[in-house]
Symmetry: C2
């Protein structure tokens, strides 16, 4: 057997795993888990192990061995192998169609083809983790009756994402052609210093895009306040360290922007982005 | 497709990847790359990406699709996908037979069955990386004539390891039934605090086992001096931080003990060690 040489990443599953680990290893990322910061329950190890554990479900996505809903459910189930709680749920919402589709067009085609059963499987995935949802949503994922409502309304998984899009920037990517992921991938590819490009792209996102995970947890006012504080760092009017301390002190973790960043790294790698140069 | 649930790690390849990432993420580890320390050329990302990139060669080892020499060569080749130089060469010397063998007995049986062609493939693996070897070794891995010498002497890969054992603690594991890896696995399993057990096991090794990578690079006196300094930390007579600074200041990185630690984590995981509890 000849040594395969430098073939990593070569598949979509490879690029998805690489995107997951590069995102979490980028430091400093205000408010989120990175090399210099753990949360009490969720540590850096959990994110790295989650990326490892996702392998078989990412391979299944690449082989198109099931629909998007069951594939996301499988990925969430496979990565519930650690004690760190939810690590990559939002990332899988982006990565699974991208890996499945092969191309952006393929991903969008797969998204348009989702069914009610995909939506039902997706709701089952929530039961495997503790993902925060907007209060009083009539399609509350924690409500067993929601599945009946999905079926009664004939809602596909794309319909579910469209329903969530106003309050969830990850779901929104399904409805706008992965617009924010693509724009962030452009930032990565254009950055002259790839080794530190991810943290710059993340900060740029934080300064302009109110994180919907923060908004669900703390209200939209704090999400917007976080943007303003990040914008001050970008302008040079405040330090990254002070922003990080401010976020951590308030439990402000921009989890949805981390998911968007993973999607962006995936797309950039697909365009040949040389992360290690 | 039902969610597979908490099945990671379930295979030998899973446990090998998990061992590689848990080892490098353990912090602080005096002198080595960890969460808090990179080398200029080799960074934490390189070790994590190396663990990801090794997947197909670890799967090949588990499927016994080639001999140990070509399998190690494939793993080294597959992980030469980053700009960080050698990351897991020594680890593969331990992991490949362990994954191939399934059990310790199986690994030792595979080791006893290695051939001259395994040795030749192993020497080719050196050409893929820049692993430090003892000067003036008559079987210099950087010398193309060494392969002829292997064939002329009929040396198997086990013979090569036995030849290297006095000066290389990783090769030594092939000749002593993975004694140091097993003893270190015992430490991990016995530790009441799994989340920080790896760094304690690493320090205990550092305090008692002169690292042969340090000895090759700096001479055995400095390897022994490193043990003495680590023993002072274990006794409480010096701080871990001062040991780390001392190591980094002198370019002392205990790379072989990191490999031993990876082998130990692999064995502990095979015994059901609950790393995340």
């Amino acid at each position: 057997m000849a040594p395969p040489g430098c073939t990593f990443p070569s598949s979509g599953a490879d690029r998805a795993q690489l995107a997951m680990v590069l995102e979490v290893l980028a430091s400093p990322k205000p408010g989120n888990v990175d090399r210099c910061h753990d949360y009490a329950e969720t540590r850096l190890e959990h994110f790295i192990v989650s990326a490892l554990a996702a392998r078989s479900s990412l391979d299944a996505a690449e082989a198109r061995s099931a629909g998007l809903g069951p594939l996301i459910e499988a990925a969430v189930g496979a990565t519930a192998c650690h004690a760190g709680g939810n690590t990559h749920f939002g990332a899988f919402i982006l990565l699974v169609p991208l890996v499945y589709g092969g191309t952006l067009e393929g991903a969008l085609s797969a998204i348009r083809s989702t069914t009610v059963e995909d939506a039902v499987a997706f709701y089952r995935a929530f039961a495997l983790t503790q993902v925060r949802v907007a209060p009083a949503d009539e399609l509350d994922v924690n409500d067993p009756a929601a599945t009946d409502a999905l079926r009664a309304r004939g809602m596909t998984l794309l319909d579910v994402m469209a329903h969530s899009a106003p309050r969830d920037m990850v779901a929104r990517e399904w409805t706008n052609g992965f617009a924010l992921c693509r724009r962030t991938a452009d930032m990565l590819v254009a950055d002259a210093e790839p080794r530190t490009a991810i943290r710059r792209a993340f900060l740029a996102l934080l300064a302009t895009e109110p994180d919907t995970f923060i908004a669900k947890k703390h209200g939209s006012a704090l999400a917007i306040k976080t943007c303003e504080r990040a914008a001050a760092v970008v302008r040079g009017d405040a330090s990254l360290e002070s922003l990080d301390a401010w976020c951590i002190g308030r439990g402000v973790n921009p989890g949805s922007l981390a998911d968007i960043t993973i999607g962006a790294i995936y797309l950039a790698l697909g365009r040949g982005w040389a992360w290690d140069s």
